[in-house]
């Protein structure tokens, strides 16, 4: 996690991803650091939907070897991963 990067662009990205998760998985309150899988926010099939969102809506190409909990398993992790991929 790159805490130093919580600037305008990163927070906009995070809110966009959060909105997708709230809309798609019908979940309300969850923290940035909450594990999606361990907390039951998203199941493993849901991660596939999340990856599809990253690719189609954010224009990020996710390689197979990047399908890791470190990259995907919390809002903070996804935001950081997407930020890296977008070169922010």
């Amino acid at each position: 996690m790159r805490q130093g990067e919580v600037g305008g662009a990163a927070s906009g990205l995070r809110e966009r991803i959060r909105a997708f998760i709230v809309e798609t998985f019908f979940v309300d309150g969850f923290g940035d650091e909450d594990s999606f899988l361990a907390r039951g926010i998203i199941d493993s099939m849901g991660l596939v939907q999340l990856v599809t969102f990253l690719e189609h809506d954010l224009g990020i190409r996710v390689d197979d070897d990047e399908l890791l909990p470190e990259n995907l398993d919390s809002l903070a992790r996804v935001t950081a991963f997407a930020g890296r991929k977008l070169g922010r």
């Binding site: 099939m45 399908l67 890791l68």
Partner: protein, 652 residues
């Protein structure tokens, strides 16, 4: 099986007999589907007993309610005591007047008291009124095949096979119990004593209860003993299981009407049919469900077994559209919300059996519980090994194989590890085996309305599930504990209830379950673990029993979960009108169970993505739709007026 109902009331000459009679008649009439052959009621001083009969044994002499002329002890009984012939011999002092198992139950109660339930090989729910001390006894079979619910009043109790009889009798006005709903959404069914309805309780399996006029004393009387494992070799185990299974089938073919069988095409039902066909000398009739969708259909395997066993076979192909049409009746009979559509095809299947003129079928339910056939057992085993040796990477290789039939099996190992890593820090916690499953289904709770969510804030379905286990079961070893959790939650509440008895009796058909013979459950519990599950191979002993009896391809089949189509049934272009109506924001708000905005989004999503709807969303959709049906059928509308004319009442 039949339907029973009754209630106690203040004794004495002032008691309004006519009103009590009317109440009883309405209760019995509401259960006519369970017993179309006769509906009778008996009014005694202080108790009303009613019975709807599906005649299967002693067609002429088995009428109920049955009363012992000497003591006045009276009985209503739903189910079968399969070893009634043997018990009758032990009761030779009793002046039997019929050859029914009902009278054997009555004589057994008079001779041995309520503890006679331990001697029964059967499936039963009954009520006995003993005027000598004015007590009402209730009891339910060891696994919960026959249903029994009750409502407690200040100084009275009302009981029935189904809750609708309590509503028809005016003992309760139907209201959804938020706890029951939360349990349905997490565990797939309410855990007894909780039901879907507030103020309606279920007698748990393997319990009897005594009402003394002021309180109900509920006692468990049976559970398998997993601590007395006998070190038998594989061949001996297979011989023991084959012999007892053969006997369990033999007892369940006892009837004065023909007995057929359900055949799924899997190992369990095929093995069962093989025993039945052998004993019947070739006259077995079998029945199957077929789906147009290849991913769900098992027809090829069914036909293979039919050809090998030479049974007279009927299959009914069920279209997605039909499932939507069947669901209202399925929920009306199940009396609970369901997370899968699977009960609906079972309703269609029982109607087929009824239309073919049969009223009794054998079914293979139970083998996956007692011989550890479910993926759940393998999952628990792998997770346990992982928890105890976290550094070993071997479990990682096994994760994708845990649930080969589920789409997520193809996920990267690192993600699977997150999915299956729940609760690893404490593998000894009692619910360890079920944590992954229950946390997945628990996601449905997020659709609850704010008021229901608040009402169930203190309800933890996992705690409720564990509450159904004895202290001994909570402490036994992992896989035995997992079996007991299955046997106290999913098996009675969903598989034998919503998908079993309720769908069968809806068409006046009785299901019989040889694998759930309590002697076989006890034997399976005594067998070494490796006989059931060795490495990742499940139900080994049954495979061995089936060798030479069934085609090799059936023996080699992995467990194939029975599933039915979901999403487009409820939200697609083929959705029935009731679904559109009950899933509308107005109806969702009126019922007050779910968050209307979330439900609208879910329905839109289901319409947009169709069959690509995720498993979690599909389960949510089915749960919400069937909860809405439950509300509309029981809470919103008044109890349906049943025709009481055919109910014959007798007073004594």
């Amino acid at each position: 099986m039949c339907g029973i109902a009754g209630f106690t009331f203040p004794a004495g000459p002032e008691s309004p007999r006519e009103a009590q009679g009317g109440r009883l008649a309405r209760m019995v009439a509401s259960l006519r589907h369970r017993g179309p052959d006769a509906q009778r009621g008996l009014l005694l001083d202080g108790v009303a007993l009613g019975h709807a009969r599906l005649a299967v044994v002693d067609l002429a002499g088995g009428a109920q309610p049955m009363r012992d002329p000497e003591t006045g002890v009276a009985l209503v009984f739903n189910g079968e005591i399969f070893n009634h012939v043997e018990l009758r011999r032990q009761l030779d002092g009793y002046p039997f007047r019929t050859r029914s198992d009902t009278e054997v139950l009555l004589a057994a109660f008079l001779t041995w008291g309520i503890e006679s339930v331990r001697r029964f090989v059967g499936q039963f729910a009954f009520a006995v009124w003993d005027p000598r001390d004015r007590s009402l006894w209730l009891a339910r079979d060891p696994v919960g095949i026959a249903p029994l619910v009750y409502a407690l009043e200040e100084a009275a109790i009302a009981f029935a096979s189904e809750a609708k009889a309590l509503f028809s009798g005016g003992f309760r006005r139907a209201a959804i119990d938020p706890r029951g709903l939360a349990q349905s959404l997490t565990l797939w069914a309410p855990v007894a004593p909780t039901t879907s309805f507030a103020g309606v309780q279920a007698l748990p399996p393997a319990c009897w209860a005594r009402w003394d006029g002021a309180r109900l004393d509920v006692r468990p009387y049976w559970e398998p003993d997993f601590d007395a494992v006998e070190p038998v070799d594989d061949a001996t185990a297979a011989r023991q299981v084959a012999e007892l299974l053969d006997d369990a089938v033999r007892l369940r073919l006892r009837a004065d009407v023909p007995v057929g069988a359900y055949l799924s095409g899997g190992l369990d039902s095929s093995l069962l049919c093989s025993h039945a066909q052998e004993q019947l000398g070739g006259s077995l009739r079998t029945f199957s469900i077929a789906f147009g969708d290849q991913k769900l259909d098992e027809r090829r395997h069914q036909e293979e077994v039919v050809a090998a066993l030479r049974t007279e076979h009927r299959a009914v192909e069920i279209a997605a559209r039909e499932i939507g049409d069947l669901l209202p009746a399925a929920v009306d009979h199940a009396e609970q919300a369901i997370v899968r559509t699977a009960p609906a095809p079972m309703l269609r299947l029982s109607r087929l059996v009824h239309d073919e003129g049969l009223r009794v079928v054998l079914t293979g339910e139970g083998a996956d519980e007692i011989f550890w056939g479910y993926d759940l057992f393998r999952e628990a085993k792998v997770r346990d090994a992982w928890a105890r040796r976290p550094r070993s990477g071997r479990w990682r290789l096994l994760l994708p194989a845990l649930h080969p039939s589920l789409p997520h099996a193809a996920q990267p190992a690192a993600i699977l590890a997150e999915v299956y890593g729940a609760g690893l820090s404490d593998p000894d916690q009692p619910a360890f085996s079920h944590l992954v499953r229950w946390s997945a289904s628990g996601r449905l709770l997020r659709f609850l309305s704010a008021s229901v969510a608040e009402a169930v804030a203190a309800e933890d379905p996992i705690v409720s599930a564990l509450g159904a286990l004895s202290e001994r079961s909570r402490r036994t070893r992992l896989l035995a504990r997992a079996q007991m959790l299955e046997m106290r939650t999913l098996l009675p509440g969903y598989l034998l209830g919503a998908q079993g008895d309720r769908m069968l009796m809806a068409a006046s058909v009785e299901g019989r379950y040889p694998y759930l013979d309590h002697r076989l459950i006890e034997l399976a519990a005594r067998l070494p673990d490796r006989v059931k599950l060795r490495a990742m191979r499940e139900k080994r002993v049954l495979r061995q029993c089936a060798r030479g009896r069934l085609p090799a391809s059936i023996l080699a089949r992995p467990k194939f979960p029975y599933r039915a189509p979901i999403a487009w049934v409820l939200a697609g272009p083929e959705a029935p009108c009731w679904a559109a109506e009950l899933l509308s924001p107005d109806a969702v708000r009126a019922a007050g169970l779910f968050d209307a905005a979330k439900v609208s989004r879910l329905v839109e999503k289901a319409r947009a993505v169709g069959s690509a709807l995720s498993e979690a969303d599909a389960m949510a959709l089915v749960s919400i739709a069937t909860s809405q049906l439950l509300w509309a059928g029981f809470v919103q509308s008044m109890p349906r007026p049943a025709d009481v004319a055919p109910v014959s009442l007798e007073a004594a």
